[in-house]
């Protein structure tokens, strides 16, 4: 006996042709209800030489409850050197979870998330994200939180002594394949006063810049 799948308006799901007889489907993002989906790209200024090892260069903090923040992906959009060359060594960028985030950090650039900024559709409400901050020229002050002892994702790469080198192209720290909502079936789920951060360890003497993009959704339940 044939089974029909019927939508709200009475439309019945179709099956293709006679060869594979596949049900026609389209992918949709997580049902965000009355909240929404957001995405932000950030670029540093010229990062000064001598950054402390594993210094924080990006963090976000979720502060509301009971809503949840779903971090679908974070990518490095490039790490590049300039005319002031590095001493040879390794570069490292790691992403980790922050728990019990009670005091916000400071320094660097603070994202503007009011109004329509960063919405994927204008009919969505403004983001509820508490803070998104990234480095301008040096490390961020991280505030008070408990970072996990191990990260969720990282990249590690060699740095030579040549100047003006593109060390890292667009590379995912979390959510490989796709940063977008629905493209990663296992997002990081942030509850109140939780967040994520990205840190950096670079060799001495060189100056550099980086770009970073994050895609997230805000939901009432998940």
């Amino acid at each position: 006996m044939a089974i029909q799948i019927q939508g709200n308006s009475g439309t019945i799901a179709e099956v293709d042709g006679t060869v594979y007889r596949a049900v026609r489907v389209t992918t949709r993002p997580t049902d965000y209800g009355l909240l929404g989906q957001y995405r932000i790209s950030m670029q540093s200024g010229t990062m000064a030489a001598g950054l402390a090892a594993f210094a924080t260069i990006f963090y976000c903090r979720w502060v509301v409850a009971p809503q949840l923040c779903l971090i679908f992906g974070v990518s490095m959009d490039g790490v590049a050197g300039t005319t002031t060359a590095f001493s040879a060594g390794y570069g490292f960028h790691g992403l980790q979870a922050l728990r019990s985030f009670t005091v916000d950090g400071s320094g660097g650039n603070l994202a503007t998330l009011t109004g329509n900024n960063q919405k994927m559709r204008a009919s969505m409400p403004s983001s509820l994200m508490g803070t998104i901050r990234w480095s301008s020229t040096g490390a961020l002050a991280t505030g008070t939180s408990t970072p996990d002892p191990q990260g969720f994702g990282h990249i590690w790469y060699p740095i030579g002594t040549a100047a003006s080198v593109n060390y890292v192209s667009q590379t995912e720290l979390y959510g490989s394949i796709s940063l977008e909502d629905g493209g990663n079936p296992a997002p990081i789920v942030l509850a109140q006063n939780e967040g994520i951060s990205v840190n950096a360890a670079m060799p001495g003497t060189g100056t550099w810049q980086f770009g970073l993009t994050m895609a997230w959704s805000e939901v009432n339940s998940y």
């Binding site: 989906q37 329509n116 977008e180 493209g183």
Partner: protein, 175 residues
């Protein structure tokens, strides 16, 4: 592209003007960026993609796409309703009147050396990786009337360069 482009210059504009129809932007990729015959001063560069709202006056300059009976993925589809699709011819586009979001939604950050005639960036998605095709990105940018997306470039001085972009979109009555 001539030397001396101002920082964060608009080099690509897409404006959706219809209502109640919606434009679904699945993905936009930079197909390549090259240093041409006049080398650059070494320095940082950035290519960004930003959403534009309240777009009341179209931009100008550059090369406007011809979308009449063109660029459909199937001939039986109607011509695109896209209001404007424009790319730089050799310099920055005039912005028109609109409000750009405070931060981009996609970008590439890279550096230029001083060598001429050199590829600098290969094919990389500004938005919608790994596939910019319809349905390949489950969370597209949804444009309503007088909204759009804009690509901006910041490059070091002295050099001449070129770039190309590809965008995939759908036009729907509801989403």
């Amino acid at each position: 592209m001539s030397a001396g482009l101002a920082a964060n210059s608009e080099v690509y504009q897409v404006r959706w003007v219809s209502t109640p129809q919606l434009a679904i932007i699945w993905g936009i990729q930079l197909d390549g960026l090259f240093a041409f015959t006049t080398g650059f001063a070494a320095g940082f560069a950035q290519f960004t993609l930003t959403i534009a709202r309240s777009w009341t006056v179209d931009g100008s300059g550059g090369i406007a796409a011809t979308l009449t009976n063109s660029n459909m993925l199937r001939t039986s589809m109607p011509s695109s309703l896209m209001g404007a699709l424009r790319i730089s011819g050799g310099s920055a586009l005039t912005a028109g009147t609109k409000t750009l979001d405070a931060q981009p939604v996609g970008q590439l950050a890279f550096t230029f050396g001083t060598a001429a005639n050199t590829p600098v960036v290969g094919q990389l998605a500004l938005y919608g990786a790994p596939s910019i095709e319809c349905g390949g990105n489950p969370a597209p940018i949804v444009l309503a009337q007088n909204e759009g997306v804009v690509a901006c470039a910041t490059v070091p001085g002295t050099g001449t360069w070129g770039f190309s972009l590809t965008m995939a979109w759908s036009e729907v009555t509801t989403y």
